[in-house]
Point group: C2
Chain length 346, copies 2
Amino acid sequence: MRVQPDQLTAFCATVLGRAGVPEVVARTVSESLVYADLRGVESHGVVRTEIYLRRVAEGMVDPHAETRLVQDNGCTALADGGNNFGAYVGAVALDLAMDRAQQHGICALGVRNSNHFGTGAFYVQRAVERGLALIVMSNASQTMPSTGGVRPFLGTNPIAFGFPTSRQVPFVLDMATSVVARGKIIVAAKRGETIPPGWAVDRHGNPTTDAEAALEGALLPLGGPKGSGLSMAIDILSGVLTGAGFGPSVRNMYEDWAEPQNVGHFFMVLDIARFLPLAAFTERLGQYIDLMKAEPRASGVEEILYAGEREYRLEAHHRCDGIELPERLAADLQALGERYSVNWIG
Amino acid sequence: MRVQPDQLTAFCATVLGRAGVPEVVARTVSESLVYADLRGVESHGVVRTEIYLRRVAEGMVDPHAETRLVQDNGCTALADGGNNFGAYVGAVALDLAMDRAQQHGICALGVRNSNHFGTGAFYVQRAVERGLALIVMSNASQTMPSTGGVRPFLGTNPIAFGFPTSRQVPFVLDMATSVVARGKIIVAAKRGETIPPGWAVDRHGNPTTDAEAALEGALLPLGGPKGSGLSMAIDILSGVLTGAGFGPSVRNMYEDWAEPQNVGHFFMVLDIARFLPLAAFTERLGQYIDLMKAEPRASGVEEILYAGEREYRLEAHHRCDGIELPERLAADLQALGERYSVNWIG
């Protein structure tokens, strides 16, 4: 089933609203979810509406909380999200960090007491539209053993980088610190396929190519000790530094119903113009991309793409032609709508 | 052959001095090289003395240049290294960035017109000793194809993170964005050893385990498109933003004798105390590490280590018992000493 992104956003926002989420929060959260679907990152898309609603219903998220500063030093600050939705807390925090970066040249803003904040590209996009560079990180609940360990200990703690370019498409690198997203293993398991070696371990910590065994086990960090260290560094900035949870104390959104997640984020916004004129920067980055695209290509490669380009094209395509929702997801959303007396799209 | 680190530093500094490098520059560069050997990162150690001397002799490095600020905004700044040695430029830049971070809470300092700056841990160590957090990046000459390409296009652009802990050993993650550092392949080639599959391709883009063929070919980025994107993001901050070279315009230290390297760096220093008291931060990070170390271990793993711990132990061991230099390297250094009328150690 194909749906227009605006309709999908309105549907999700209305459902969230009926569940008691204030309009501005419902709107921001829905925009974040639909934005992920627009970019082909379905794992962070409207498929999460249901779990988000359950978190509110169980009192695990407080959709009325304001995000407030608990430390403020101008170019550095620390915010407390009051346990509101991560996408809302993150959007409020980003707006503040962007204002501060334009005022001071840079802003490093830590955030604690937040929740799953969706796709990093949602924030990156907003920063590059204002001609700013952004590095954003978040911690996450445990899914990967650290190097030498067996059980999930580290989150797949994501990091995203965004830079404006002279081209239509900004540079947007939005990555988890695992080799692959768990969603890819779910897909392989559903299809009865094996997974390549190096993606995951089973629940005994042994390497496996069995997708089902991998789902009971743990994802592996990107590049062994490097990914393990990178995931931990992101957690140190997002969790240890901010007063949020870190490691085991970041709660699982799907499994922990006793306590809020206490996710932490870290935003670093840079005013490019303090280094060189924005146009010179975007021009230089455009040249870089041109050179990269002109390189000889590996066999079977039609075009060399830079970070965010594939997702940008998907977004453009989906904005025109609508987002294709799998039948089961559409049915789930429709059922969710019925529960809150909200008509499904169409 | 075993040498005391102080003797090795003095030897290298004296040789560099005889080659016309001012004392403070010679000292800093030698300390950076020996620091890498102390930590077991031989690829960035005194093995590079010879190429550093050749760069000076050929006029490719100006050891007399001062590092000066070309943009200054307090919490952001841009420095020009005047084409001096990277370790010296980096050390001067870091001192400035640390002062600024203590004054303002954060400092993002870009550096252009520099050279190969050695191991990132050299800078990280200095920052954590002052209770500061550091993220430092550098670009490097082309050694890896970007995803979809064949020829070397991106550098193995390294990134390092450092945080003080409540334990004796700080968190120091110092990593190249390749599967392994090129230096490790240089060491293997010098020793006549093969390299594991997955590290590199030959000059035709085919996988190889031959270290010499790999040096003529290309390293592979960490985790495919993720490492490729991360390398480019580091180059954007270190090169595009600073006015240094980027991509192909960062010259190869070993192969390009017509132009300076024009390497760029990016330092981001954070004053932890602006977020929470330093002791609370180090205590929290200590707890994190304790929890990680208490995890069940994979078979054959005696202890779960965090980033920088193995290197710290090597450093302590080498400071006590001396650094073991391979016979061939010791002979090369001795010959280098003779050329500059400097007695070899012992």
